[in-house]
């Protein structure tokens, strides 16, 4: 073959690819920008409402910018003295849940990813089934109660150290890691514990990061466990639960019967103290979302950039 001809064909191909690339990149960028606009809107709208005067919000039509600026909504939320302890509990609960989940999920996922493991199928089956049934509120409560975990911090994390969904996701991921890694380690005489900790775990970082995120957000947003198990002890209350109660009382204030105090007239006097459910709800949303929005970028680099498995292969 004459090298010259090949050169030409490569060049032609390149030029074609260049044009294609530009078209694709332009389109892709446009799609992404549109997407960002659509996805950013609800958050910006919530942000605007959270800074807008409550009674003014009732009129509707607040979109991207507050019409009458106020900090009253945040003042109501942040002045609540219980939320600071609750914040600490929420953070502790989240950290412990994430750490235990990562440990147990990854360890178990590794064992059921071993094709030769004799208990692989029964274990997988037993875990998978748990995704599709729920014993119900009262039986679950009675179990936690008989374990002596009502009104204890343990009720937050002990029942939730592993989720079947995350287990399967991680197992599926581990299975895509070439078998040769494990085999070569085994030939070197490595035990299962070592193979798991030294070889498999480092390779799972992207998916572990994803699971950490799922677990963290799930734990952060949950309030039902506080209601059912731990509402009897104020020092165990979580941020989400406290904010839930605040929202209920804001709604209640909105539904009051204005009696002779002449709520009407006082409002006319320029009542800056009046809050409405929409405003409080928006401020609560921002207050709970911000910590996650701040933490997210730190996790993000693990699954956006990714780990080049090929690089470790040797």
């Amino acid at each position: 073959m004459e090298p010259k001809i090949e050169d030409v064909s490569i060049r032609i191909r390149h030029r074609k690819t260049d044009v294609e690339n530009i078209v694709f990149t332009t389109f892709n960028t446009l799609i992404m920008i549109t997407l960002c606009v659509v996805m950013l809107y609800p958050m910006l709208n919530t942000l605007a409402i959270s800074f807008n005067d409550g009674l003014d919000t009732v009129r509707g039509g607040v979109y991207l910018w507050p019409r009458i600026f106020t900090l009253q909504n945040y003042r109501v939320v942040l002045k609540m003295d219980t939320i600071y302890d609750a914040f600490v509990i929420s953070v502790l609960k989240m950290i412990i849940t994430v750490v235990t989940n990562l440990f147990f999920t990854s360890m178990l996922a590794y064992t059921i990813s071993r094709k030769e493991y004799v208990l692989r199928k029964p274990i997988t089956t037993i875990f998978v089934l748990t995704m599709y049934f729920n014993a119900g509120l009262i039986p679950n409560y009675l179990l936690i109660k008989s374990l002596g975990m009502i009104n204890t911090f343990a009720a937050y994390w002990v029942p939730n150290i592993i989720s079947a969904f995350n287990l399967i996701v991680l197992r599926t991921y581990i299975k895509t890691i070439p078998e040769s890694f494990v085999e070569s380690a085994r030939i070197d005489g490595a035990k299962e514990f070592r193979i798991f900790f030294q070889i498999i775990l480092p390779l799972c970082v992207p998916t572990m990061a994803t699971i950490a995120l799922f677990v963290a957000v799930g734990s952060w947003n949950s309030w039902f466990d506080t209601l059912i198990y731990n509402s009897g002890k104020q020092y165990l209350s979580t941020l989400q639960y406290e904010l839930q109660k605040l929202l209920a009382s804001a709604m209640n204030a909105g539904n009051r019967t204005p009696a002779a105090t002449g709520a009407d007239a006082a409002a006319a006097a320029g009542g800056k103290n009046t809050t409405t459910p929409q405003g409080i709800r928006a401020a609560i949303t921002i207050v709970t979302a911000v910590p996650i929005l701040v933490v997210y970028p730190f996790l993000q680099r693990y699954f956006v950039t990714g780990l080049a498995i090929g690089g470790v292969k040797e």
């Binding site: 409550g54 009732v58 909105g254 539904n255 009696a259």
Partner: protein, 584 residues
């Protein structure tokens, strides 16, 4: 492998039995083990509070006690620096711990609490279906409710002894829960503002029509005014004028289903009307058909907002707050924020006043006398170790001295007293009272919501709270509203409604319990859902199609066992007539 599975299942079974064995908690007859937050005497338990001659312990700072409260309320717990919390501790030695459950979550929390069988000392329940009482969570209070023990609480329930007594299944009627609302003392001053139902109309519509006489009011006159106004002003502030909103948003569908009973001259009995002590449902009767056919005709004229049935509560309020809605059926508390927003914007003339249209021959009965609620308020739990202390606390709170503190606040700080001994607030005080942050530090709202209250007037003639003090109402009336009231020769908003006659003894039927899981309860839900499904269709249809939809609606209702609802309610009416009369 299979064997291992079997083994695991056996293990699970054994474990499950173990778990169940432990779930068998002592029933109501054997008191449950003490809960954590029961009254204690600061360290040493034998240091019992001193007893009065009659028997109830005296609360004093020398014998500090802690009382744990559980309640369903939408109000917030007090802040740590609350001044009344401090006052309770300084004056009575009482420390309260709060467990507050928002009303939306109450069903679920109640279920697990009853299954668990342990409770805080005082349970503040909205127990309309008697779940707590029947579940054996509360002790009967009869032994404390006497002249020489809890004298003030006794006075609170004395006239209503029979209706408050409940048979928890042992054949004896006892009082378990102290009612928290609408037990009145002395003169009822309240009602300068009225929270009840009405066909509301924008004040400017009446002003523009030269303040027409609102007596002998009917739907023709009501919608006639609206129609004329829409013709004259097709837009308000550049937006199309909306003639009539039907309140039908999720959770408030009564705005669509209740009006027929009022139009027919009946008070609010829920889904039934009562004639000669016999109740029947009205959803499929002519009084309902007439109203919905009327709305259908109004819709054909373009007077009904077609979005009524699809909008959210926020959207509904936003429309009212825009000032372009001329009328709607609602209860006053339901649109408070919209009214406030209009006033804040200086659009007093766009706010609403209530009117009472009725069918020909009927007398308006929109306003009723406030009904004392049963099965709602504080009860003492079976887990409470020192019920006498808990009762003593409730009794103390019932005194006029503490009622003033709880309702009005501290004299000089939260209200002032004029030369005639009348309580009043300055404009700054009124403004401060609206601040949720301030309230958390200066009021005990959650506690007050559930406590028995001294409604009416105190012995010194002041209303029990600021909302019912007539001077407060007149002091805060805007100029526009003063003119408006003058034009009608009325003093307060309540004067726009009928003078409520004495309630029948069984009234209201809506709080006759349809027992949990019963046929009647299910049928009632089915009935409501059929109304929600068909009424919007009937209203929005072409007038020619109305009859067909109505016939289908009625035939759907026939499939529901509504006779059972009527049977249970009539039984309740007869029971109330027979047993509710007396006091003690």
């Amino acid at each position: 492998m299979k064997r291992l599975l079997v083994l695991l299942l056996v293990a699970a079974f054994i474990l499950s039995f173990a778990a169940c064995g432990e779930t068998k908690q002592p029933g109501p007859d054997t008191p449950a083990p003490p809960s954590t937050g029961t009254p204690n005497s600061s360290g040493s338990s034998d240091d019992k509070p001193a007893e009065t001659a009659g028997g109830l312990p005296v609360l004093s700072p020398d014998n500090p006690v802690t009382i744990s409260l559980w309640m369903t309320t939408a109000s917030s717990a007090p802040a740590a620096d609350n001044k009344l919390t401090k006052l309770l501790k300084d004056k009575l030695g009482v420390t309260l711990t709060y467990e507050i459950v928002a009303p939306d979550n109450a069903d679920q929390k109640t279920g697990v609490m009853l299954a668990g069988g342990e409770y805080p000392d005082l349970v503040g329940a909205t127990d309309l279906n008697a779940r707590f009482i029947l579940g054996g969570a509360l002790i009967p209070m009869d032994e404390y409710l006497t002249e020489d023990k809890a004298n003030l609480l006794f006075e609170h329930v004395r006239p209503y002894w029979n209706r408050l007594s409940f048979d928890a299944g042992d054949g004896e009627k006892k009082i378990y829960i102290l009612p928290n609302y609408n037990r009145f003392y002395n003169e009822i001053t309240g009602g300068t503002h009225y929270g009840a139902s009405g066909f509301w109309i924008q004040k400017h519509v009446l002003e523009d029509a030269g303040y027409p006489n609102l007596d002998n009011w009917n739907l023709d006159k009501y919608f006639g005014l609206i129609e004329n106004y829409v013709k004259k002003y097709p837009t308000i502030d550049g937006q199309p004028t909306i003639g009539f909103e039907v309140l039908a948003v999720s959770g408030r569908e009564w705005g669509m289903t209740n009006p027929p009973e009022y139009l027919a001259g009946h008070p609010n009995d829920g889904g039934v009307i009562v004639k000669n002590n016999v109740a029947e449902i009205f959803a499929n009767k002519d009084i309902a058909k007439t109203y919905y056919q009327y709305l259908n005709a109004m819709n054909a004229k373009g007077l009904v907002d077609r979005e009524s049935f699809t909008q959210t509560l926020d959207q509904y309020l936003a429309k009212l707050a825009s000032g372009r809605v001329l009328g709607m059926y609602d209860q006053r508390w339901g649109f408070g924020n919209a009214q406030d927003a209009l006033v804040a914007e200086g659009k007093d003339h766009r706010t609403f006043v209530s009117t009472m249209p009725v069918y020909e021959g009927a007398t308006p009965y929109y306003a009723d006398r406030d009904v004392m609620n049963i099965n709602q308020g504080f009860g003492v739990s079976v887990s409470c170790q020192q019920p006498d202390v808990a009762v003593a606390f409730l009794n103390t709170m019932m005194s006029q001295e503490w009622q003033k503190i709880l309702h009005w606040g501290i004299e000089g700080e939260d209200y002032l007293v004029d030369d005639n001994g009348r309580f009043y607030r300055t404009p700054e005080m009124r403004e401060t009272q609206k601040d949720l942050v301030w309230r958390a530090s200066n009021r005990l709202e959650a506690l007050l919501d559930v406590l028995p209250k001294y409604q009416g007037t105190y012995d010194d003639g002041n209303a029990y709270n600021a909302d019912n003090q007539p001077e407060e109402f007149f002091a805060t009336l805007s100029d526009y509203d003063k003119n408006f009231l003058n034009a009608y020769g009325k003093k307060t908003w309540r004067d726009f409604l009928n003078q409520p006659p004495e309630n029948p003894v069984y009234y209201p039927c809506w709080n006759i319990t349809l027992p949990d899981g019963s046929e009647a309860q299910m049928a009632n839900k089915q009935l409501t859902d059929i109304s929600l499904k068909y009424l919007p269709r009937a209203i929005l249809a072409q007038p020619s199609e109305f009859e067909g939809i109505w016939a289908e609606y009625v035939s759907e209702i026939e499939k529901v066992n509504y006779k059972e609802i009527e049977r249970v309610i009539n039984e309740g009416i007869q029971d109330r007539i027979a047993n509710w009369g007396g006091g003690k």
